[in-house]
């Protein structure tokens, strides 16, 4: 029972996630819009981000257990191994028990577009780290 096979999951998509993805897309050029595809019992969001001078391609998976479990955000564009990058180019963005309100996934407040915006912030940090060797925000606590 999950996102695509329960009434609650479908309602969440129709009333919360899809309207906000459409609003995000309205404000962007076609090449930076989010494309959505079914992926098993969940969804996959494909999009590009350009936080500074480079364009990155990303994939966000909303698993069957979404929104209880956070989205999984993966970089498809190869990058250098760096802090906060997990195996398979998965971005480390959410941490249970974190005292930072935005580092702890909250299904009552966050949407998949928040995950996209968090990925943008992550990539902006990566670009600074790539040039300076310093991750510009402290580790999530």
């Amino acid at each position: 029972m999950g996102l695509l096979d329960s009434d609650e999951g479908k309602r969440r998509l129709l009333t919360v996630e899809i309207p906000i993805i459409e609003r995000y897309n309205q404000e962007r050029d076609p090449e930076y819009r989010i494309q959505v595809q079914r992926q098993g019992s969940g969804l996959a969001l494909r999009f590009r981000l350009k936080p500074a001078h480079n364009v990155y391609e990303l994939d966000v998976r909303l698993l069957s257990s979404y929104p209880t479990t956070p989205p999984e955000t993966r970089l498809l564009t190869p990058i250098k191994p760096c802090p906060h990058l997990l195996e398979g180019q998965l971005l480390c963005m959410w941490r249970q028990g974190s005292s930072w309100a935005t580092s702890r996934w909250d299904p009552a407040r966050f949407t998949c577009v928040f995950a996209v915006q968090s990925a943008w912030r992550w990539l902006a940090c990566y670009e600074v780290w790539h040039e300076t060797g310093d991750w510009p925000v402290p580790d999530a606590k």
């Binding site: 129709l14 009333t15 076609p30 494309q35």
Partner: protein, 276 residues
């Protein structure tokens, strides 16, 4: 005759079920519990060593009937989210008067919350904090805050005990409060509070408007620097329904009513977004 529906009969859920069902107003129980009783459960569970290998649901039914032979006990030996049991679970929730959630994972809690809201049933939830340093009991009434409202509001900085192995990959090394399993005593204290708050929702008690003015009760059991300043201290939280909550806001947002309409609308939206 009150029909109680409960999910979970683990080390926390079974004492709650036992204590609530001692009340003669309870005439019918539906228990949803898929697990088998295992050897590692014995240290914290009320069931005997001799029950290892049996379904917890069946042992729970025997336990209840030994004490209340006239009780109607129905078992749903399934995961709450099992698609094959949707209709039976819906039927049971629809006829229930009161729900108890004694599940130890967030997905089940959110799913239970959605079920209870869909059928407008009051329910309670108990949560023992990792290490048995304290615990929460939450009370949910129709039209009030949902589990998402409450969990988001409390912004918990301690993790709930789910009886899984501690995560030693946490930076800074393992902290005592997440490496020591909750004791049976700690589980029993929170279970008793959970049962007490559940019993207060039974007919004959004050109505929803006259219930104590809090949704969540936290009782600390240990002093943990940086987490709890002192042991045995109660905190009461009155959490309001949040207009911005993405969990229960969907209830009030217009969406197709029937399953077929819902599927058609979703297909259209995904087709649209597939070619964005």
């Amino acid at each position: 005759m009150v029909h109680l529906i409960q999910v979970g009969a683990g080390s926390g859920g079974m004492p709650v079920l036992d204590m609530v069902c001692r009340d003669l107003r309870i005439g019918r129980v539906t228990l949803i519990e898929p697990d088998v009783y295992k050897a590692h459960n014995v240290v914290r569970h009320v069931f005997a060593l001799s029950a290892v290998g049996r379904l917890k649901a069946e042992v729970a039914r025997e336990w209840l009937l030994e004490r209340r032979p006239e009780l109607q006990v129905e078992l749903l030996v399934c995961d709450l989210r099992d698609p094959a049991f949707v209709a039976r679970i819906d039927d049971a929730v629809q006829t229930a008067d009161l729900g108890v959630c004694a599940a130890d994972n967030e997905e089940t809690k959110y799913h239970w919350d959605a079920l209870m809201r869909r059928f407008a049933k009051p329910w309670t939830l108990g949560e023992v904090l990792a290490g048995g340093i304290g615990g929460f009991v939450h009370r949910f009434l129709p039209g009030g805050p949902c589990y998402g409202c409450v969990a988001s509001h409390l912004q918990r900085s301690v993790t709930v005990d789910n009886a899984k192995a501690p995560d030693y990959s946490q930076p800074g090394g393992p902290a005592p409060e997440v490496t020591i399993p909750a004791s049976k005593a700690a589980i029993g204290v929170i279970a008793a509070l959970h049962a007490q708050m559940t019993l207060k929702l039974l007919p004959g008690n004050p109505g929803p408007d006259e219930q104590p003015p809090f949704t969540s009760l936290l009782l600390t059991l240990e002093r943990v620097p940086g987490v709890f300043d002192e042991a045995y201290r109660p905190y009461r939280f009155r959490v309001a329904r949040s207009a911005d909550c993405l969990i229960c806001r969907a209830d009030a947002t217009p969406a197709p009513a029937s399953a077929a309409e819902l599927d058609a609308a979703l297909d259209q939206a995904l087709t649209r977004l597939g070619h964005a």
